[in-house]
Symmetry: C2
Subunit: 332 residues, 2 copies
């Protein structure tokens, strides 16, 4: 029979659960607003409730394990949610152990960006790549890296914090305190802020009209540009230039076979692509210039599907690897 | 008997060979100026000559294989030197195959920065780390990354091109054509250039005196600062600030357990450390602030020792790995 996994995507706003098969298809799905203010016990109760709902939709299927995508910082090897800003009262929560005790199934945990990267790698735009960089551009900028067939984790699973890569010495201060973070100049939030600064309430501009004369968001800019608004197109060109500078760094640093862009702003990928690619060609060293830069394919369920792949993809790279054992032996 | 490897460090200026044992000790050593202008055939003849010399020094030892560190870009899996700017006439040279035919021994190739990183990881400042970033700061800036027990290669072994990571939008244009490369603002060359711009021939300054009233180099700045020269100390503080900005990016991107700085400018590490660490503490996200930043330990032989470790360390991560096979299976 088709193997299936129970997958959770634990966001600060929404908690989603699904039963996912080896083809990456969602066989059952349920979601609810995350009780983000009520602490880990409340959220794990929600996870039990959602699990019961999706399992009731497919009574003939038994998941072989549970994959969870959750906000970072998060230690995938230890299965611990370290302390995400979006979940109140979560501090070093051993979520993998809690769920595995509750459901009596193996549990694998991964941060949300890495989970989405895995989804796109196994089932989406990155299929077949040996190395892949996934960048999500929405409220912030996050990333996940597949390096020669394995998720790049680093110490405590904290690698690929690409939103806080410094790429310039200008622009507004990032919430993290530094100047020039990729996220501070190129996130959807930054794009909306730039558009808001360039327009005014009731100025008759298309962007303000789309925003109902409130603050303009990144998505509003994309929508206005698609309708031919000149200022919106200019703002997207500036956005694409920043993305190109950041992406060039990622090509130099990780040397992927492909770079996949997801997140809310990737809905405007077709409008951004030309300037992104031109910027990369202008700035990258020759050996990196031809690497494809493409839009993500799985949409909002990438993280859920990637979480399932932690179980179904038989990724066993977490924990002591043979090469580490070899290293210790050679040092001894 | 003690296992030994024949190691080469093929630089644009000097070609070195050694017989290295499992403790990382050089049992025999020989070097000559690289015939960099005479093409690959001349250089491989030099390698044969050096091999004969080191083997003659230790007639009772037989190497089990050959490890080579050579300038990038270089494809370690295919064993091909792609086309380094410092070696004239080298274009897609299958050096591993050439040497293995010549010596009838297994040959492993790695780019020079990765080889030095491996040396420091197996035998130097990075011993015991699961993940390590090695940064060499001299004429340019290069890097090698150990990620969870394996060298980070990416497509064609081109990962960790950290010298051309954009970190600012100011400063002189890099030789690569871009503005704001880490190397363009923080290499030893940049430090020397800054010092040269701030002084004049025969101005009586200590830095110009040390430079015999020629252009000031990065090493001259370090030497003058060590003697208490105020301007040199100021220049080193600015250098340390740039290094801190770049290192913070590397912590966010690779999440190493330790960051090791080598190269000519690391002779001034003790003078740079305080400002480097303060900059990292100011700019890094909390989870990355405490990662140790230390000086390399192996000096100029790091690359040679690391090249030997390609053979003695039994690194077998090059080529198709089990996780890649698993991935293809799960996609099938």
């Amino acid at each position: 029979m088709n193997k299936v996994a129970l997958a959770f995507d634990l966001g600060g706003t929404e908690l989603r659960a699904a039963l996912v098969d080896e083809a990456g298809s969602l066989l059952a799905f349920s979601a609810m607003p995350t009780a983000a203010a009520d602490g880990p016990a409340a959220v794990t109760r929600q996870m039990e409730q959602l699990a019961a709902e999706v399992l009731a939709q497919t009574p003939d299927l038994s998941p072989i394990g549970i994959g969870v995508g959750a906000p970072g910082p998060l230690d995938p090897e230890a299965g611990i949610v370290i302390g995400p800003p979006t979940l109140i009262g979560w501090h070093e929560v051993p979520l993998a152990t809690i769920l595995s005790d509750r459901f009596e199934l193996p549990v694998r945990l991964e941060n949300d960006a890495n989970a989405a990267a895995l989804g796109e790698w196994h089932y989406g735009a990155g299929r077949g790549a040996d190395s892949m960089v996934f960048v999500t551009v929405s409220t912030g900028i996050g990333g996940g890296v597949i390096a020669n067939g394995r998720t790049l984790h680093g110490r405590r699973g904290l690698a690929a914090e690409i939103g806080h890569m410094t790429i310039t010495n200008e622009g507004e201060r990032c919430f993290c305190g530094a100047i020039g973070c990729f996220e501070a100049v190129a996130s959807g939030t930054a794009l909306g802020r730039h558009a808001t600064a360039r327009t005014r309430k009731f100025d008759g501009s298309l962007m303000r009209a789309i925003a109902s004369d409130g603050d303009v968001s990144g998505r509003h800019v994309v929508e206005a540009a698609r309708k031919g608004d000149v200022l919106a197109m200019e703002l997207l060109d500036a956005e694409a230039r920043w993305l190109g500078i950041g992406f060039t760094n990622l090509l130099h640093l990780y040397s992927p076979d492909i770079l996949v862009m997801g997140g809310g702003i990737s809905h405007g990928f077709d409008l951004l692509q030309e300037v992104v690619v031109a910027t990369v060609r202008e700035r990258a060293m020759p050996a990196y210039r031809g690497v494809p830069i493409v839009a993500a394919q799985l949409g909002r369920h990438a993280g859920l599907i990637g979480a399932a792949s932690l179980i179904l993809g038989q990724e066993t790279d977490i924990g002591a690897s043979p090469s580490i054992e070899r290293k210790e032996a050679s040092n001894g």
